[in-house]
């Protein structure tokens, strides 16, 4: 069984084929957008742009970098809470993100800027779609459910944190928390919408922290706090405010959303995850359902309601049309219709997540993937050359035994 885990040919082959494909696809399709092309100077002149500060780079690059810190440091370190899976957490996240960003450039190009057989790459649109959390969470959970192992409990001693691992994980949490306002505002229209998206996210996140701490203490019989709640549920407010962040949610509205999601998410860790694991065979190691799933659904509802309540008085007519893209084919759509479509969108993404997750789960169940045995889940040693740990403990035990023989004699006298 362990033999399966040897990745010596599979992993390099996947990496080389993928990257070669990327080079070919970029060669065929990708071109610098005008802001990154030497003809920018001519474009500036032709369009009466007086300053380089109008180059999209200066508007988008700081947010883009913040979102990168979230993806690479934030998610990478958040997952190091597993005491024996730190190398895998931070490095496989790194590998997948490096895959992902290249693929994202192509996909977004094909969807948005495909013209004359080419796509035009500017500063990369780093995400924040309405349904990313809900879709991602339930897609992944469906895959996990299908891949469920009856005997995973053999690895249960590995599936936990230790003191250092929990501190590494907090590096991830804090960078995610701090830069979530950049994430939710990264793709907003410039000006007031972007400004508002950052403010709303910030308020919601702050409220989450307080209710997470409250519920964490309240659900422990000694009132003690749990690090897994602080590491995760404090971020739920950022997820839930995603859809409505750039809308006129109001700041106290954002606080209420964060207030509720801190509670729901922490309760999920305390009660729902153990229930799903023992009763439904859904093993959710890092609590995706609590951090992205439920808060994502709440966020979808909040977004739909906030959209349905939009008025011209609040947004101005131009503002409303720009915010909800009531232009082109959608000109004249009413806010209540928009709210209905957004609500329907939640169900559509859930359906896609379940169907897609089932298909991918079944593919991953094929016995060709080199997965670790039931005893070897959550441990780096399967895929990593680990540094030799010095036998400090043995050395210490030896010294103790050598230097305190009297006690041993005493023990052995009995």
């Amino acid at each position: 069984m362990l033999k399966n885990t040897i990745m010596r040919w599979k992993l390099p082959l996947v990496c080389f084929i993928w990257e070669t494909a990327m080079i070919v696809l970029f060669g065929v399709f990708a071109r610098y957008d005008i802001g990154a092309d030497p003809h920018w100077s001519e474009y500036k002149k032709a369009n009466n742009i007086s300053s380089d500060s109008e180059n999209d780079f200066y508007y988008r690059y700081p947010s883009f970098q913040d979102v990168h810190v979230m993806i690479f440091v934030g998610f990478g370190f958040l997952m190091t809470f597993l005491k024996k899976y730190g190398f895998g957490s931070v490095s496989f996240n790194f590998l997948l993100a490096a895959f992902g960003v290249q693929w994202a450039i192509l996909m977004q190009g094909w969807l948005h800027t495909f013209e004359g057989g080419k796509i035009h790459v500017s500063v990369i649109d780093a995400g924040g779609s309405m349904t990313i959390h809900t879709f991602g969470a339930y897609f992944g959970l469906t895959v996990a459910w299908i891949l469920h192992r009856r005997n995973l409990s053999k690895s249960s001693s590995n599936e936990g944190s230790n003191y250092q691992a929990d501190l590494f994980s907090m590096i991830g949490t804090l960078f995610l928390w701090m830069y979530w306002p950049s994430f939710n505002s990264a793709v907003s229209n410039t000006g007031d919408a972007q400004h508002r998206a950052a403010l709303n996210t910030y308020c919601s996140l702050a409220a989450s922290v307080l209710t997470t701490v409250a519920i964490s203490s309240l659900t422990n019989k000694s009132g003690k706090l749990s690090m897994v709640h602080i590491q995760n549920a404090t971020l739920a407010g950022g997820v839930a405010v995603g859809t409505a962040a750039e809308m006129y949610l109001t700041m106290y509205g954002a606080l209420i959303v964060g207030f509720i999601c801190g509670i729901v998410s922490t309760l999920g860790y305390v009660y729902l995850s153990p229930f799903l694991s023992s009763k439904l065979g859904l093993h959710d190691t890092c609590g995706i359902n609590n951090l992205h799933g439920m808060p994502g659904i709440i966020g979808g509802i909040v977004g739909a309601v906030t959209a349905a309540c939009a008025t011209v008085g609040v947004y101005t007519l131009d503002g409303m049309n720009e915010m909800f893209r009531f232009t082109g084919d959608f000109a004249g759509r009413s806010p209540s219709t928009q709210g209905g479509y957004q609500a329907a969108g939640i169900f559509v993404s859930l359906a896609f997540a379940f169907v897609g997750g089932t298909i991918v789960g079944l593919i991953l169940k094929l016995p060709i993937w080199g997965e670790p045995s039931d005893e070897n889940c959550f441990v780096d040693v399967v895929y990593w050359e680990l540094p030799e740990e010095e036998p400090d403990d043995v050395e210490a035990a030896k010294q103790y035994v050598t230097h305190a023989p009297d006690q041993f004699k005493e023990i052995n006298k009995d």
Copy 2:
């Protein structure tokens, strides 16, 4: 005594009441400022603003994010140097900061933008007031002095670092050091003042590093360096240059300030802290007096002198009036008067710190707060569910004993 530490009802109650109060107060008072309001487009037109880049968001958001990294990652991790208090350090800092930012939005709104019963919230003013370090340090030290425990030495084995904890702490130090120029310049006037504040802070910080290393080595009988100095005293230059950062301090002036403060702060750790603890009963675990207290006072004096020396030739008339707010009621005030007022301000903030600290200290002495017993200070286990550590050592000892029985026999022969 230990029973007191159960926070199961107290902590959740405080969190819920506080956050509910925030929601109500935000609902009543807080409104989006024009830069975050959909009427921004109309405002732009009415005020002949041609580009979204003039929205305050684009001037302030990067500095705002830097300051957030300082507060959440910087201070949170700086305090993880305590080997058994890492969870508390990083998480209680997180909780207090999430409390604090909401309160700060309201307070600053009431003080600065209260109009027609509402406050107008834009990108948040993240601080940097003239007296924040001095006031904060001596307020906290007064509280600590009143709360002094006669038998704290029972916890002395807990009050220390270990190798990993000191490295985690350096994450905090470095992010504080790097972003201190953003902190000191965050609330400066845009343009040359902000530019100058960043430059001066940077020079002062760099000089602090060198003199900290020098004194750390010089005061150790083997010339060995101490991590606690590197973690803290290297930042003293940033504190001390706070008041004068945006003034025409000159770069060599900033270097001199940093030079002196690296020395004073490190000497404080080596000689003053132990003296205060043993003779005056003032126990200053993380050396607040050395990092914020004394450098804050030095900074106040530097600021007063630099202000008193201001001339129209250096600043231009407009520049001087703008820098020192010689407008409205203060029109026509002279630099030397300004310097005198700033010097007086140091004493006023010290007085407020001692009086306020005494009151709060006495309140915290009331036996209702669930403080840990004298044996249980500086340890997470009082307030946290800790991960079960694997009995690696025991296991190692067992294996050693099992596999090397000869030595044991030998021992027991004696």
Copy 3:
């Protein structure tokens, strides 16, 4: 021998003399540039600048901060992979960087803005010169080669990582990786060149990650990955694209550069470093040759070829002249000549590196520097007061022995 390592007078003396020299030199030479001077307002009026956003501070400060994170957190933590040298890694990097930035301000001032006996300091130019990696790497390697110790193997048990140290090191890797686009674009011309430099660097880095993982797995007999490759070779793409980053390299060109350098760098760690160490006596602890040396040379060649292929059709005439500085004395130079000069530049920097490294190496061989003995390399204890580690293991061993005396009796029965 150990006596030599006492730095009590040498280190403080060096710090004080250096910092005092800095204060004097800054006092004599350094002045605020116009963007940081109170006369900025008058300058704006005189030059028809309408907005403070045109102050260089707002263009350069975010990149400047990113590069600082790379220098202080990135390189500082990357080097903490040595399990017993974490304090030295992060702190000596901190000290040298604080030295370095002050020196850099002066040097760049003398070279670029010296006028009327003064230099004018604005936001600091953080580097990225064409030959920085190649020169730095081979300079350092030459020094290391001259300082080679025959008996370094006595320290070989210290020269390695452990699980926690490798995770700390990944903090460094990720911040370097994420901000490398800022580093390569920090000193580019504003507008399209800066935009393009960030994009190209990003593509090259992403490709490096995939081929690094591939080769790391492929060269291990069980297909297991090695952390040292992930920590270092993933960055090789950023080094190699440095020279050509702002040129019209095309994105698939950048992907190809990263693809190749991930392979070359990882192979260097696997095969070349052990060979150089055992055969040539060149001991390269952190693989400088693999991360900066070889990728730097590749980058120089890529830059020379890309420059030689430049055409007016791609760059526009103005763009080409601005990109390659074909102005003043260089007006009319052809791209192919430029490419030739750049290729020659590689050899010039290699020559300077070898000669300079030899001289410095010989100076460092003088017996006045207090270097550690052969047994004490790679350990903090020589230069640092280390925290006392609690005898947890001993305690655990003791408890085990006390609570399980039966087994001991059994052992002793034999």
